[in-house]
């Protein structure tokens, strides 16, 4: 039997506003528990929410970027359910009149490009965190995250496999970071998704029963979780079992999904319009301002890099595909003469380090200051490319300054003719047999002499100078 998969994804994007959606408490990540919390966030009796318009501006930017309709009047609703990290006993979200309606996202896979339509995107507040394993016999609540603005982006069920799901998430990640509406840090939960997965017989028009995999927070897990779920459902159906509509959780340790709660026990959320907030109205003037200050998107960046900085097309493509890399490039650029070298270095050595650890450059120890300094040290001949790699390795690990590493480790390139001449003379003397062989026509030995010089100078000799002096010496 051939099966077809139907996937729809709900993505939660934490918007990078300074303060929360309904209170003026900070949204900074990683603070001590319950410190980014004010009266509103802990839902004390008598408190009232007031809207942070910045969140709306960011949501609108997303809407405009995907060609959606912007509801200039949108309303908030209450979603009622009990949970200890939901202080009010309801979440303020948008039901009937979301800020963003429709639009689409283009994804790229090996099969080509595909358009995934977006149903809607609405604003809502995040919940706090329950901590179950730190205090013996007790659960703890951290409300720092409670009230952080989320943009929930709901896709149409148009995604056909796990690879497309990953491509869709990558496209969203690229969008929200370029639009500067989220830091996109998946490891910190800034971008996470729920995947609704169902399968049906090929050609069948009726959708199968779906399950929802909750809270997946890495590209790798999206692919694995969905693939596991597809295979599980196929197995169930091929064994003549049925699929239960339920919420499932992906366990990355065991690489499996398992049921959280079934629909029978599902909450009736009792949505109704939030009476504490008036409809939020975005004026034409506000909308115009958002359009006027629209950030540069990848395609525009690519063209600019090629035109303005004469960066090779391929390098420019890589640089402009990631917001953090592009930002890093653009800041480093200011103090660097050789922009091509900078681009090459970022696309080459640095990207391979990032890929190895699966992090973004803004999550690493690298700073634009250190990297531009490093590039300049290469261009002015202070260090060789080889030494540059040594320094990169060190600044990667500890974030130290290149000039300090050089000083501490004595890594300055030796370009002084006299000094190199002296070293070469010594090497030729010590290796008189090889010199004879070379002079007799065994020209391959030239590399051997260069190697010896580098070995003796610990790679610090300027290779150009070494080459030219060596050639001259061996002529005689």
């Amino acid at each position: 039997m051939t099966w077809e998969t139907v996937i729809g994804i709900e993505t939660h994007v934490q918007l990078s506003t300074k303060t929360k959606l309904f209170s003026r408490a900070s949204t900074t990540f990683g603070q001590n528990p319950n410190t980014n919390v004010n009266l509103i966030d802990c839902g004390l009796p008598g408190v009232l929410p007031s809207v942070n318009k910045e969140a709306f501006y960011k949501a609108i930017r997303f809407g405009l970027a995907i060609g959606a309709k912007i509801n200039q009047t949108s309303i908030f609703d209450r979603k009622n359910y009990f949970y200890p990290d939901l202080p009010k006993g309801y979440q303020i979200t948008q039901m009937d009149l979301p800020i963003v309606l429709g639009g689409s996202v283009e994804i790229k896979t090996k099969e080509g490009t595909k358009i995934i339509n977006v149903t809607r995107a609405h604003l809502e507040e995040d919940a706090g965190k329950s901590i179950h394993d730190e205090f013996d016999g007790y659960s703890a609540i951290d409300l720092n995250r409670a009230g952080t603005p989320l943009l929930e982006i709901v896709s149409e069920p148009e995604i056909s496999n796990a690879k497309e799901a990953v491509a869709y998430m990558k496209a969203l990640h690229q969008l929200v970071t370029f639009l500067d509406i989220s830091d996109g840090k998946m490891s910190q939960g800034s971008l996470r998704c729920d995947a609704n997965v169902s399968i049906k017989k090929k050609g069948e028009t009726k959708l199968g029963t779906r399950t929802e995999i909750k809270n997946i927070n890495s590209f790798k897990f999206i692919e694995k979780a969905i693939n596991f779920e597809i295979n599980r459902q196929i197995k169930e159906l091929e064994n003549a079992n049925s699929i239960t509509q339920e919420t499932r959780l992906y366990d990355s340790m065991k690489d499996e999904t398992r049921p959280m709660r079934s629909k029978e026990f599902a909450n009736d959320y009792r949505y109704f319009p939030e009476p504490d907030l008036l409809p939020v109205v975005i004026s034409d003037k506000e909308l115009k301002k958002i359009k006027e200050t629209f950030p540069e998107l990848p395609k525009e960046k690519l063209n600019r890099y090629v035109d303005e900085y004469k960066i090779p097309d391929n390098d420019a493509k890589i640089l402009s595909s990631s917001k953090s890399l592009a930002d890093f490039f653009e800041v480093s650029l200011e103090n660097v003469e050789d922009k091509g070298l900078l681009a090459k270095f970022l696309v080459g050595d640095i990207s391979s380090l990032l890929n190895k650890e699966l992090i973004e450059i803004n999550e690493s120890n690298l700073t634009p200051e250190n990297i531009s300094k490093l590039i300049n040290l290469i261009s002015d001949g202070t260090i060789s490319g080889k030494i540059a790699k040594v320094i990169l390795d060190k600044t990667w690990k500890k974030g130290s300054k290149p000039e300090e590493i050089i000083e501490k480790e004595g890594l300055t390139q030796i370009s002084d003719d006299k000094e190199i001449k002296k070293i070469i003379e010594q090497i030729l003397k010590e290796n008189s047999n090889q010199v004879k062989a070379y002079l007799a026509g065994k020209e391959k030995l030239f590399g051997f002499f260069v190697g010896q010089v580098m070995k003796l100078t610990q790679g610090k000799a300027n290779p150009k100078t070494v080459n030219s002096i060596l050639k001259e010496k061996l002529k005689k």
């Binding site: 008598g46 006993g89 949505y271």
Partner: protein
């Protein structure tokens, strides 16, 4: 010289003439609260800080000299008061000490008034008799074992007994006006949004509004002047200019047009209550008012509409009382669900539970459209009726309550709906967001009767003007209970 039964203006002139010091006034006030402890007006007293503030005022440390500087006030126990227990008359908040004050409390205290304590009320403002308080019934100062009305029963009784010249109250369906009527004082519910709801524990957010209970319309104007104003912390508060309500209070009312609602069949009411109504109508006519019959054709739907919307919002608003962060937590729970169930079962009283159940039902999937949504649509119609009525009249006059105060346990215990009908005349102005006042206009069987004047959107000035002129030409508001039962 006794301070009992004195109005704000009278106390103010005593303070200004140094007939009494602020400290003496507060001292006397607390003496009264103790003498009249049986009334059970207060849930929590604020004696130490009240006395301290009075002393500061006497020492001239209070720069602001307003009408309210040095004046003792009761605050309904629904308003958060920083450092002072706020229970909403519920067991579930019996240990709750707020870290902040409601905007209303802050404004009144900033104007120099002195909070002497938190007044008793129906639990979470749900009730019309003050019998749902966890802290016991409040007695009507006019007759022991009679209800003071509710939910602001403690506030009304404290003013009627002359302990404080004024108190704050909240009104979701009549909770200021009905107890004011039953206790023979003046109470006003302002336009929705005139007074900030920040720090006022929510019952039904779209209907709740804070207002004053006092001995006269003039005192209500003084209170409301201080209480109103746009508040950035409450986005539903109105961003409009709030005019001085005393400015036009003495204007002649000759020529004002007062509407009588055709749909309210007053013949159904007790004949003595009808007489009072006719008498007041005559007095207004004598003062130059013209009466016009108006139609509010959807008004009969207001009670069911209210009892769909208010419980729905209440069921959500009261979800935060879950035993997790503040308030009562059951000691008998074994797991999370149990913690919720036990804490809420132990913490809430029957009427609150009833309304949470009704509201939960009204919002449930499959019922939302039939109840909550439909009710909101009807609400719109009721609002439209008022809008067109106010094209022809300045005010609308109705009785405040269909009856006078009743005996404890006589209503509601068996049939809650009977008690819900107490709100027949008051509910519609909450649904429409309009201002309304209740003023005393005589006695029936030794119990006070209230008269309601409803005004157009933000026309508190017109209501207070008419009420004040009425009071200048009558003495109903000056009647005092003998209090010999207490």
């Amino acid at each position: 010289m006794s301070i009992q039964f004195k109005s704000i203006l009278e106390l103010k002139s005593m303070l200004n003439s140094k007939t009494i010091s602020s400290s003496e006034l507060i001292e006397e006030t607390f003496k009264l609260t103790k003498d009249l402890k049986d009334l059970n007006c207060f849930v929590t007293m604020n004696e130490d800080s009240a006395k301290q503030k009075a002393k500061q005022i006497d020492q001239g440390k209070y720069k602001n000299n307003s009408y309210l500087t040095g004046i003792p006030l009761g605050q309904k126990d629904l308003f958060c008061t920083e450092g002072l227990r706020t229970t909403c008359a519920s067991k579930i908040l019996s240990n709750f000490i707020p870290p902040y004050s409601a905007t209303v409390v802050k404004k009144l205290e900033d104007s120099g008034s002195i909070t002497i304590g938190k007044t008793n009320m129906d639990e979470f403002a749900m009730g019309s008799s003050n019998e749902t308080s966890f802290y016991g019934n409040v007695h009507n100062p006019w007759k022991r074992n009679y209800v003071p009305g509710g939910s602001s029963g403690g506030s009304a009784a404290a003013v009627a007994a002359g302990i404080v010249p004024a108190s704050t109250g909240t009104d979701t369906g009549g909770s200021i006006r009905q107890p004011a009527a039953h206790c023979g004082i003046t109470g006003m519910k302002p336009t929705y949004g005139k007074v900030s709801r920040w720090g006022m524990v929510a019952f039904a957010s779209s209907l709740d509004q804070a207002g004053p209970l006092a001995r006269s319309a003039e005192d209500c104007a003084i209170m409301l002047n201080e209480m109103s104003g746009h508040d950035l912390k409450d986005t539903t508060s109105l961003d409009v200019e709030h005019t001085d309500l005393l400015r036009s209070i003495n204007n002649p009312i000759k020529g004002i047009k007062i509407g009588i609602v055709k749909e309210f069949n007053l013949n159904d009411l007790d004949s003595k209550i009808q007489e009072r109504f006719q008498d007041s109508k005559k007095l207004f006519e004598k003062l130059g008012a013209k009466f016009i019959k108006i139609s509010l054709q959807n008004i009969s739907a207001s009670v069911p509409t209210y009892y769909s919307i208010a419980p729905a919002e209440c069921s959500s608003n009261l979800s935060r009382f879950d035993g997790v962060k503040f308030g009562h937590r059951s000691k008998n729970s074994n797991n999370l669900n149990d913690l919720y169930i036990q804490s809420r079962s132990e913490g809430f009283g029957d009427e609150v539970k009833r309304r949470i159940l009704i509201g939960t039902y009204a919002l449930s999937a499959g019922y939302y459209d039939a109840y909550y949504k439909k009710a909101q649509q009807v609400r719109r119609l009721i609002k439209n009726d008022f809008e067109s009525a106010f094209e022809t009249v300045d005010l609308i006059m109705t009785p405040t309550s269909p009856n006078t105060a009743f005996e404890f346990d006589s209503k509601g215990a068996q049939n809650p709906v009977e008690l819900y009908l107490e709100d027949l005349f008051t509910i519609s102005s909450n649904l429409a967001g309009l201002p309304a006042i209740s003023i005393p206009h005589g006695m029936v069987d030794n119990l006070p009767v209230g008269l309601q004047l409803i005004g157009n959107f933000l026309r508190e000035d017109k209501i207070l003007n008419a009420a004040h002129v009425f009071q200048k030409n009558s003495e109903f508001h000056l009647a005092k209970p003998s209090l010999e039962d207490f």
